[in-house]
């Protein structure tokens, strides 16, 4: 994944926000995910498509985190979301 990789939510999910937590369900698989804190923030940011670089910049701006570390963590999260068909990654 490069900084220019475009990240976009798929439409195959439903979600509920409660107590600062986003409960997210993939409609076809029925798998449910609970996103909190930074993960929930990333999901909110993905309401419109973003590049990895844009996501990194927003998170670094909002949280006290090193840019390199932030991008590494984002790659892990986004790969996990993509593996579960919740986002698409376009090189």
């Amino acid at each position: 994944m490069s900084p220019n990789t475009a990240v976009q939510r798929t439409n195959n999910h439903v979600e509920t926000v409660l107590d600062g937590e986003i409960a997210l369900m993939h409609i076809d698989s029925g798998n449910i995910y609970a996103l909190r804190d930074v993960s929930a923030k990333v999901w909110e940011l993905l309401e419109s498509p973003k590049t990895l670089a844009e996501l990194t910049a927003r998170i670094v701006n909002d949280y006290e985190v090193d840019s390199q570390r932030c991008q590494e963590d984002l790659v892990l999260l986004l790969n996990d979301l993509a593996k579960n068909d919740l986002v698409t990654l376009q090189p």
């Binding site: 439903v14 979600e15 509920t16 926000v17 409660l18 107590d19 937590e21 409960a23 997210l24 369900m25 993939h26 409609i27 076809d28 698989s29 029925g30 798998n31 449910i32 609970a34």
Partner: protein, 172 residues
């Protein structure tokens, strides 16, 4: 009124079926329960007595506060514990309980329209969740994820703290 009392007075979800479908009582309280017209029963398997919830004495607040069963005054949920400890502010706690109630109200309307407003049947909700052969086959996926979110929040905040961290020995 202190923060803990304000939270309990404004919340009341441990009385209205949002958390429990029954509450522990003792044989000695049966005359009081009869006086309050609270249906009760003895569970021979557990060897314990219970009265049923939702409590019809809850109407924005407890209408029989001075003569309530002992268990009602003893129950302490995890959210109340955190408010008492100063770990959660009253405003934050009230917003959370309000959000849970709002979601509960939506679920009640959709899944249990026969239940009176302000009341809830969590046992029925849990059965509805478990009854799904697969969450992915839910006829209304949004309702399903709403129900799961509700359950997570109730379990996390409105159940009592684990025994090792609680002074409350009540078994609701």
């Amino acid at each position: 009124m202190d923060d803990a009392s304000t939270l309990c007075t404004r919340c009341g979800m441990c009385c209205t079926g949002h958390v429990f479908h029954r509450a522990r009582t003792t044989e000695s309280e049966i005359p009081l329960l009869d006086e309050l017209k609270l249906a009760h029963h003895y569970d021979a398997e557990l060897g314990k007595s219970w009265f049923n919830l939702p409590c019809h004495h809850w109407d924005q607040q407890c209408t029989t506060y001075a003569h309530k069963p002992v268990t009602c005054g003893k129950y302490e949920c995890q959210l109340l514990t955190r408010v008492k400890a100063g770990a959660v502010g009253l405003d934050e706690a009230l917003k959370l309980t309000s959000d849970i109630k709002r979601l509960g109200s939506h679920l009640r309307q959709e899944l249990m329209p026969d239940i009176a407003e302000r009341h809830f049947d969590r046992q029925r909700l849990v059965a509805w969740i478990k009854d799904k052969p697969s969450a992915g086959q839910a006829s209304d996926p949004k309702l399903f994820v709403d129900a799961v979110a509700y359950e997570r929040a109730v379990s996390k905040h409105l159940m009592k703290a684990p025994a090792a961290h609680s002074k409350n020995t009540q078994n609701n």
